[in-house]
């Protein structure tokens, strides 16, 4: 039986598609994200192959990189421990007699694999293969090589999106090693972040560590997150530093991360 062909005018077609576009644009991101997560989930194999090929093409000495990565992991761990020790001493001095928990005591680390990475100057995000089903929620901190690399920005049942510290929309509260100043570290894309509003009266050294500060319910101890790579007076306001930092972990080659769940439900 011959099928009746429905004719739709071009104008109508265009209008309907535009309408669909605007609906997608203004629909809640929680709903529209499902499309992106579904794509990442369905094509995780070819996406990861493409990413691994790209990493391989840029990695010439694999053994050297493994050793460097291990060294970086230990250094990050030591830096975090040193900072925790310093904080403990401060606490002891301030509130002697009060019982304190050890940092990250009772916290649960959920290991996850990176399925897709979007790293350029416009966005720095990872898609990981853990989601609501694994107990993840938005806002939780994510570790890579023992350093904070970002926070969970969107969660699906089986996947989650990690907004890295270098993403232009990322802003986390940090302190620079030895300086007792709380500042916001703003992502700048392309594997960099910036810390501003620190007076040039303070001595800031290149190579100093930057720590993600405590956040009630999300992080109960400062954890190393970045290293200062450049420090120069701000072009617009020479009285403050323009500090450029680089993550302590190589975000381009990272393949697995851990999500910190501070108070896991048993």
């Amino acid at each position: 039986m011959a099928r009746k062909r429905i004719k739709v005018s071009r104008r109508m077609l265009f209008t309907w598609f535009m309408l669909a576009g605007f609906i997608l644009l203004f629909a809640p991101q929680k709903l529209t994200n499902k499309f992106q997560f579904a794509f990442a989930r369905i094509f995780r194999w070819p996406l990861s192959i493409g990413r691994n090929l790209s990493i391989l093409a840029h990695t010439q000495q694999p053994n050297d990189n493994i050793f460097r990565r291990r060294e970086s992991q230990y250094q990050n761990y030591i830096a975090t421990l040193e900072e925790q020790l310093r904080q403990k001493h401060q606490m002891l001095e301030e509130v002697t007699g009060l019982r304190q928990r050890f940092p990250l005591e009772g916290a649960k680390l959920v290991p996850a694999d990176v399925t897709t990475a979007f790293l350029d100057s416009s966005r720095s995000e990872l898609i990981i293969n853990r989601g609501k089903n694994d107990g993840l929620a938005e806002g939780w901190f994510v570790l890579g090589d023992n350093g904070v690399i970002g926070t969970i920005s969107r969660v699906d049942s089986r996947n989650a999106q990690v907004r890295l510290i270098t993403d232009p929309s990322s802003g986390i509260e940090v302190k620079i090693d030895q300086l007792n100043l709380r500042r916001i570290m703003q992502g700048a894309g392309s594997n960099y972040a910036r810390i501003t509003n620190i007076s040039t009266e303070h001595k800031v050294k290149t190579g100093s560590r930057v720590f993600a500060l405590k956040k009630p319910g999300l992080l109960d101890t400062p954890i190393v997150t970045a290293t200062i790579t450049q420090c120069k007076p701000d072009d617009q306001n020479p009285l403050v530093w323009d500090i450029t930092v680089e993550p302590v972990c190589n975000l381009e080659t990272i393949s697995n991360v851990a999500v910190i769940i501070m108070n896991p439900q048993k």
């Binding site: 535009m18 576009g21 994200n33 990413r51 232009p168 894309g189």
Partner: protein
């Protein structure tokens, strides 16, 4: 139009863009090149459909849903109508078309994403310019394999 082949091509381009090419900061936009290719090498109705589908694919690998579907759909449709008046068959014209469509479509997508409170990107305009330029240089050379895959006869393949 061979829609199955079209679907495979779009998926392949999206996966390549989000996987292999994602590491490069400035890279050609394969979906933009495909947008111009289909706007130039298919009928107007098909060009409208392909433009929106390619925009949807670009949104899937983008930071939010909506901006690219609107911008690609709009400029793909405009290019398809323009192609009825001016034939965009020669390589320099194709380069110019990719560059112009790239500039306007990416700019509109960026402004739309800002509208839904996406963050401001440093050097966004420079990045849009560089991506459009890169795509314009690479694009016309990719038209040949695209035409071969889609079984579309171009000037280089035969008579019209």
């Amino acid at each position: 139009m061979r829609w199955f082949r079209f679907a495979i091509l779009i998926i392949l381009a999206a996966v390549l863009q989000a996987g292999f090419l994602a590491r490069w900061n400035i890279r050609p936009d394969l979906l933009l090149i495909l947008l111009v290719f289909f706007a130039v090498h298919s009928g107007t109705t098909e060009a409208i459909i392909t433009s929106f589908v390619i925009g949807f694919a670009a949104d899937l690998i983008g930071s939010s849903m909506g901006p690219q579907i609107i911008s690609f759909g709009l400029f793909g449709t405009l290019l398809a109508y323009l192609h009825r008046l001016i034939a965009i068959r020669k390589m320099p014209y194709q380069t110019a078309a990719i560059f112009t469509v790239g500039l306007f479509a990416e700019l509109l997508a960026y402004l739309l994403s800002r509208l839904i409170s996406q963050p401001h990107i440093q050097n966004a305009y420079a990045l849009i310019f560089a991506t459009s330029l890169y795509s314009a240089v690479v694009g016309p050379f990719l038209f040949l394999p695209f035409a071969w895959w889609m079984h579309i006869k171009t000037q280089r393949f035969g008579k019209h």
